[in-house]
Amino acid sequence: MMSFLTSFVNGLSLGSIYAIIALGYTMVYGIAKMLNFAHGDFIMVGCYIIFIFSSNLGLNPVAAILIAIVLCTLLGITTERVAYRPLRNAASPLAVLITAIGVSYFLENLALLIFGADTKSFTSVVPWAGISLFGGSLQIQGITIVTILVSLLILIFLQLFVHKTREGQAMLAVSQDRGAAMLMGIDVNKTITLTFAIGSALAAVAGALLASAYPSLTPYTGAMPGIKAFVAAVLGGIGSIPGAMIGGLVLGIIEILSRTYISSQLADAIVFGILVVVLIVRPTGILGKNIQEKV
C-alpha cells in the first residue's frame, strides 16, 4: 500500500510537470491553431537562463525565474513574429508545423553552440525538502508540492483570464473563427502574439520546475518532456485548458504506475498504447469538444 502511495505521488509529480508544459501547448493550439513543437525547447531556454542567473551569477532564484519569464516571453513573441506569422496563411497548414520543428532544432543547436553539450547540474529553485508522512515511510518532496500548486494556480489563472477579460474573450473569438473575429474589430495578430507571450512565459515556469525536479540540464532537456506533454494535451483534449491539466496528471500517473507494477521497459509502450485506445474511443480526447464542421 505504501509503495503504491509512493508511486502515486511520484506519478503526480511527473504528471504535474507534464501538465504545465501541456498548458502551454494547448493554449497556443487552441487559439493560434498551430502545434508549436518548439515549446519543449522554449522550456530548455528557460532552464538555461535560470541556470546562468542563479547558479553562475548567484542571483536569487525567484529573480532568476522572473528574468527567464521575461526573456522567454520575448523569445516566444520574436519566434512568432519571425517564423510563424509569415506562414500563417500559407496554402498548407503543414508549412508552419514544419517550421516549428525547424525552430526546435534551431534552438537545440544554438544552445549546443553557446552552452556546449556538457550536462549541467541544476540547483533546485525550491530549497524546501518536503514533508514526510506515516513516520517517514511516505516522503513527498517540496518540489512536488510546489509543482502541483503552481500548475493549479496557472490553471485557475488561465481559466479566469480567458473567460473574464476582454483579451481572453478576444482569444476565444479568434479560436472559434479567425475571419469573423477580424470583422468584429479584433486585432488577430495582437491576440495571437499575446497567446504566444503567455505560452512562452508558462514555458519558463515549467522549465524552472522541470529542472528542479530532474536537475540535469542539456540542450535536449526539453525535447522528450515536450513530446510527452504534447501527448498529454492530446489525451486531455487539445485546445482545452482543464483537459491539458487532466491529461498531464493521467499520463504521469499511468507512466509511473506501469513502470512500477508492470515493467520498467514496457512503460512507454503502455502509455502510448493507452493514448491510441483513448483516441479510438474518444477522438477529441478526454475533455475535447466535438465540433461539427458545417458545410
Binding site: S3, S121, T123, S264
Partner: protein, 388 residues
C-alpha cells in the same frame, strides 16, 4: 520561371550528390598521398557524448604531435583529421565517407559502439584498418580489419562482477540499466551471468530507455525496497548524475558502481560532487596515477586543453601508439594502398606489445580483442583515485 529555375537548381544538386557518391567509393582503392600518414578520427564532437569524442580527438592529437616531433612513423609524418558523428550511426558513415575523400589511410574510431559497428560495415568492404579506442560492444570487432583498445562490454560486465565479488564490496546488488542501448544492456547481461558465480545476489534489475530517462524514482525505489547495498550503473554519466541526485533526495545512499561510461560524472557543471563520494568505476585510466607516462600525458593535455583527460582520451592515445608500433613492425608506408595497409596492420597488431596509459603489456589477437588488466577507481574528495 521561378519554378523552372528551382527545378534546374534541384536537378543540379541531385546530380552533384550522385557525383559525390561516386567520388566516395572511387577513393577507396588507393591512398591519395605518399608523403604522410593520414589518420582519421570519428566521434561525437558535439552532442550528449561530446566529452568522449573531444577527449579522443585531443588525445590522439597529442600522441600524433609527439610522434611527429620524434620523427614520425617509419620516417613519415602523421596527419590527423577528426569528423563529428553527433552520436548518430548514419552520420558516422557520412563522416567516414568524407574522411575517405580526404585520403585517409587508417581510422581511429568510432568512439561509441553503435557508430563503430555502422562504420565497420564500410571499412570491411574497403579493408580499411580500423582501431576503435572505446567501441566496446561485442560486434564492434566482428570483422578481421577492426581492433579495439578498450575492454569489450562482456569483459567489463564480467570484470565488474568479479571485482565486486572478490573484494566483498556488497552482498545485495541492484542494477539500473538502459535497455535501449547496446552498451548498457550488453554489460548488464554479462554482469548478471558472472554474478551467479560470485558471492552476491542481484536483488533488483530495472531498465529505462532513451525516451524515459528523466524520472528514475521507480528504479531507485525498487533497489531501495530490495535492500541493495550497491547499485550497479552500467550507463553513461549524464543519466547517472540524475540518478545520484534523485537517490539523494529519496534518502537512499548505496555504493554506486559503474563502468567507463560513468567516467566524466565529476565534470558535470554545478554537480554536487559530494553525491558521488565513494562511487566506484571500473576504468583502465586514472588521471592521478603516479607513473611517468600518465603524468606527462595529463600534463600536456591539461596545458593544451585546460581540462583533465578521461579514459577515452587515454584509449585514443594508446590507439595511436599501437598504430605506430604495428606500422613499424610491418614497414607500412603511406604510399601503399588502403587495402595493403589494412592487411599489413592486421598482421602487425598481433605481433606487438604496448606499454600504454591504459595498461602495460597490452597485446592483441587476431579477433581484435586486447588483453589487459582491469583497474578500478573510486571517487574521493571530488577526484578519481586509484582503488586500493
Amino acid at each position: 520561371m521561378k519554378k523552372k529555375l528551382l527545378s534546374i537548381a534541384l536537378t543540379a544538386v541531385m546530380a552533384a550528390s550522385l557525383l559525390a557518391g561516386c567520388g566516395g567509393s572511387g577513393a577507396s582503392g588507393s591512398s591519395s598521398s605518399g608523403d604522410t600518414f593520414k589518420i582519421g578520427v570519428i566521434g561525437p564532437l558535439t552532442g550528449g557524448a561530446a566529452a568522449y569524442g573531444t577527449a579522443v580527438q585531443y588525445s590522439a592529437q597529442i600522441a600524433v604531435d609527439e610522434i611527429n616531433a620524434a620523427g614520425g612513423i617509419n620516417g613519415k609524418q602523421v596527419e590527423l583529421k577528426a569528423e563529428d558523428d553527433e552520436l548518430d550511426a548514419q552520420k558516422s558513415v557520412n563522416a567516414y565517407n568524407s574522411l575517405k575523400d580526404w585520403g585517409m589511410d587508417m581510422l581511429v574510431g568510432c568512439v561509441t559502439s553503435a557508430c563503430s559497428i555502422a562504420v565497420s560495415e564500410e571499412t570491411k568492404n574497403d579493408n580499411m584498418f580500423q582501431l576503435t579506442p572505446s567501441g566496446s560492444a561485442l560486434d564492434c570487432v566482428k570483422y578481421d580489419n577492426v581492433f579495439r583498445v578498450c575492454f569489450s562490454d562482456p569483459a567489463q560486465g564480467a570484470a565488474s562482477a568479479q571485482y565486486i565479488g572478490q573484494n566483498g564490496i556488497a552482498s545485495k546488488v541492484g542494477v539500473i540499466y538502459d535497455s535501449s542501448d547496446v552498451y548498457s544492456s550488453g554489460i548488464y547481461q554479462t554482469f548478471a551471468q558472472e554474478a551467479a558465480n560470485q558471492g552476491f545476489e542481484i536483488v533488483s534489475a530495472e531498465a529505462f530507455t532513451a525516451d524515459s530517462k528523466t524520472d528514475f524514482s521507480v528504479q531507485i525505489q525498487k533497489a531501495k525496497d530490495a535492500g541493495a547495498e550497491l547499485v550497479f550503473l552500467p550507463i553513461y554519466y549524464t543519466e547517472a548524475s540524475l540518478i545520484l541526485q534523485q537517490a539523494n533526495t529519496m534518502g537512499y545512499k548505496p555504493i554506486f558502481f559503474g563502468c567507463d561510461g560513468l567516467d566524466g560524472i565529476l565534470g558535470v557543471e554545478n554537480f554536487d560532487t559530494s553525491l558521488a563520494e565513494g562511487a566506484m568505476l571500473l576504468t583502465p585510466f586514472a588521471a592521478d596515477a603516479t607513473d611517468e607516462l600518465t603524468q606527462s600525458f595529463v600534463k600536456s593535455f591539461e596545458a593544451k586543453y585546460e581540462i583533465t583527460p578521461n579514459q577515452f582520451g587515454a584509449d585514443a592515445y594508446d590507439a595511436i601508439y599501437a598504430i605506430k608500433a604495428a606500422a613499424e613492425k610491418e614497414n607500412v608506408t603511406p604510399s601503399m594502398s588502403v587495402t595493403e595497409i589494412g592487411d599489413a596492420m592486421k598482421k602487425g597488431m598481433t605481433e606487438i606489445s604496448i606499454d600504454g596509459l591504459t595498461s602495460t603489456g597490452m597485446t592483441w589477437d587476431a579477433s581484435g580483442e586486447p588483453t589487459k588488466e582491469p583497474k578500478a577507481v573510486v571517487i574521493k574528495d571530488g577526484a578519481y583515485v586509484s582503488a586500493q
